[in-house]
């Protein structure tokens, strides 16, 4: 089963713990949280990181086969990467970034040269750090099937829960 980091969006409290955990571990954050639509109805915090697509555009665009899809997920081989940045342009989610050559994390895409920075689901760790640190439990490391199951369960429960006497 290919696992990815899923976000239970209505649970995100936009605390940026995932961002900081990732930055602490790897020097630059591969997941970024912003608050959007922060209007009179309340905002939503949305973390964006690599979706680990099954047919990844980034891998299709990669001229060196540095990015490729394997059975257990999307793999990146930095040795093959030539830093051309085509994967950045191919990703529909803008989840790949280029790291500034001098270090430090840049939010601007226009870094003059750089290496590819994308979420690799913390190889060697049982759970990615962003998921382990999420205080709200909004990030889940799972596959699409079980993520859907949890939501279905929740909906099912709500359908049947005897609503507290009519208000």
């Amino acid at each position: 089963m290919t696992k990815a980091v899923y976000v239970n969006l209505s649970h995100c409290i936009a605390c940026k713990a995932c961002e900081l955990a990732c930055e602490r571990e790897y020097g630059e954050a591969r997941v970024r949280v912003e608050v959007v639509l922060n209007g009179a109805g309340g905002g939503v915090g949305v973390p964006v990181s690599c979706r680990q697509c099954e047919t990844p555009f980034c891998a299709l665009a990669c001229p060196e086969n540095a990015l490729g899809r394997e059975v257990d997920g999307l793999k990146f081989d930095s040795g093959l990467c030539s830093d051309c940045g085509l994967c950045v342009l191919a990703c529909p989610f803008g989840a790949i970034e280029l790291k500034k050559a001098g270090g430090g994390s840049g939010t601007s895409f226009l870094n003059l040269s750089g290496t590819v920075v994308r979420c690799e689901l913390c190889p060697g760790k049982e759970t990615p750090v962003c998921v382990a640190t999420c205080p709200a439990g909004a990030l889940v490391y799972t596959d699409c099937e079980s993520f859907g199951k949890n939501i279905r369960r929740g909906k099912g429960k709500k359908c049947l829960k005897p609503s507290p006497a009519p208000l």
Partner: protein, 158 residues
């Protein structure tokens, strides 16, 4: 290591203006700079190294290393593109106009880069119009965020 000068031959038509050669060159001989809507890549006429890092990095096979005996040919090619040789130096440059993001209006990629990416992606998929087309990566992220957020806002209290 071969210390004899090695000449760089660039196929200007093939080059898409990505940054592979600039970041792969171990000596930083190939330079990339951006001013406004223009990206400029400056190549040396020759380089002392024979590492060919740029050659293997180039996704379009646009770079070739030429020996001295072949150089006359290369030179002729270059003269044809006279305006690209920086006068008074042994360097020559390539300029690309950058495409601006349709939302934030910041330049983010060359036309050729985008074309190459779209070709790589399944032709059928890329032929139609998608919301993220023409957007720079950070605006794509914002678009995704906004759409996800709308979905959440609608059902949050449910």
């Amino acid at each position: 290591m071969n210390k004899k000068p090695v000449y760089l031959e660039i196929d200007f038509d093939k080059c898409i203006g990505c940054r592979a050669c600039t970041s792969s060159c171990p000596n930083g001989f190939i330079r990339l700079s951006e001013t406004g809507r223009q990206r400029t890549i400056v190549f040396p006429e020759s380089c002392g190294m024979d590492c060919q890092a740029c050659v293997s990095a180039c996704p379009e096979d646009a770079i070739r290393f030429a020996r001295a005996q072949e150089y006359e040919e290369v030179r002729k090619n270059k003269e044809k593109q006279a305006e690209r040789v920086i006068s008074g130096s042994s360097e020559f440059e390539l300029c690309f106009e950058l495409v601006v993001c349709r939302k934030c209006k910041r330049p983010f990629a060359t036309e050729k880069e985008l074309k190459r990416v779209l070709e790589a992606i399944d032709a059928e998929i890329s032929s139609s119009e998608y919301a993220w087309k023409g957007l720079c990566p950070s605006c794509r992220r914002d678009l995704l965020r906004e759409r996800e957020a709308r979905a959440v806002l609608r059902v949050r209290k449910f």
